[in-house]
Symmetry: C2
Subunit: 211 residues, 2 copies
Amino acid sequence: MGINDRKQRHKEELKDIILKAAKELFLEKGYEATSMRSIAEKIEYSPATIYLHYKDKAEIFYALHLEGFKLLVNYFKVLASVADPFERLKAMGHVYINFANENPDFYNLMFVMSEPMEVFELDHAKEWNEGEDAFRFLHNTVIECMDKGYFKGMDAMGFSFMLWSTMHGLCTLRTSGHLDQVRQVKTQLPDINAVTAFTLQTFISMMERLK
Amino acid sequence: MGINDRKQRHKEELKDIILKAAKELFLEKGYEATSMRSIAEKIEYSPATIYLHYKDKAEIFYALHLEGFKLLVNYFKVLASVADPFERLKAMGHVYINFANENPDFYNLMFVMSEPMEVFELDHAKEWNEGEDAFRFLHNTVIECMDKGYFKGMDAMGFSFMLWSTMHGLCTLRTSGHLDQVRQVKTQLPDINAVTAFTLQTFISMMERLK
DNA sequence: TGCATTTACTAAACACTGTTCAGTAATCTT
DNA sequence: AAGATTACTGAACAGTGTTTAGTAAATGCA
């Protein structure tokens, strides 16, 4: 094996080590506490070394944004086995909310923070394929529902965006802490999980009526 | 007028000047570019002076969070004159989205950022009255709709949270830049305003069916 | 094998952030 | 007039992301 191969391998391995360290810190302590110096300390290199492998901090977090989408899309893929599109839609709703509840930092990185999306504003040729994959799964399921006669007269795209907006809104109002602070949430349901579940159930009931 | 009155008045005036400077910078340049040093420079005092009037930066931004809610609730109040609750609900939807589109930084401060909400986590006796006011207006309008026989069988609270989630989701997917990057948004509708309007219209069509 | 070149990495610097503190000038009180 | 208080400041502290000049190690070549 050549010297060049070995050096190239070391370069790639170090890049992976940096990302793994960033991910561990990010999952343990969140975005704010994941600094370039803390990543460097964890991998026992200096902060300057990281810049040999990643353009800047945003590029590291964009790589984590991609990892988050791989995780979510894996959950969605399992649902492909659900034959009835409406049941699949419901299952997607549950999966999406569970994902946000169990991975709030990843969820923020994927769907809330505008920084990872800046890469697409700088490079207009680059496309948000990972977001597109997730949205397409939803959109295709909506089209299958409509092919079955559900949601007659509704536009598939508008409907898909509406579904995503509702799920996203429910997730972010919860993770940001706004939902918690509404008095009715504090007093009328046992906890925030119950509010989220109840609101989702109301939404599903609406969908049942529109079938 | 006593010396104490004059000094107290100066203290309050300086506090207002600080907030006004913060607001101007915030509206011109956004949250990231509104630093304690930039506020201090604008009012021609040192950064340390600000800490005589505000506990920390979060308290300044919480004051701006309150101003944002005053603005929104003023828009909502105008809708009280809309007699039919369903028409009022629709108008609220438009007002909410227009507010987010025209005041994205305020919107983020009010409904997205978790920092202003931390004041309620630290002081459990303190309540999010401003958010409660806005939500109550929505909730009351939903109850009036149900009193008129609309949305039969739906729970008012779940329905209200569902409405808020949908509007909030639509607003934040747009302001964060995620909606822009979906291929269908780029190719099938003229611009992001059209997507938002179209998705809202789809949602309203659903509500019409559920009446 | 020795020297020149290249590479990988670093310490330190830069420019910025939020916040605190010891010191000081001005104002107020006695 | 002197002492006390207040309002404010410069500088420090501890942190951030990023860059750069310098250096040791590795590599290539004559």
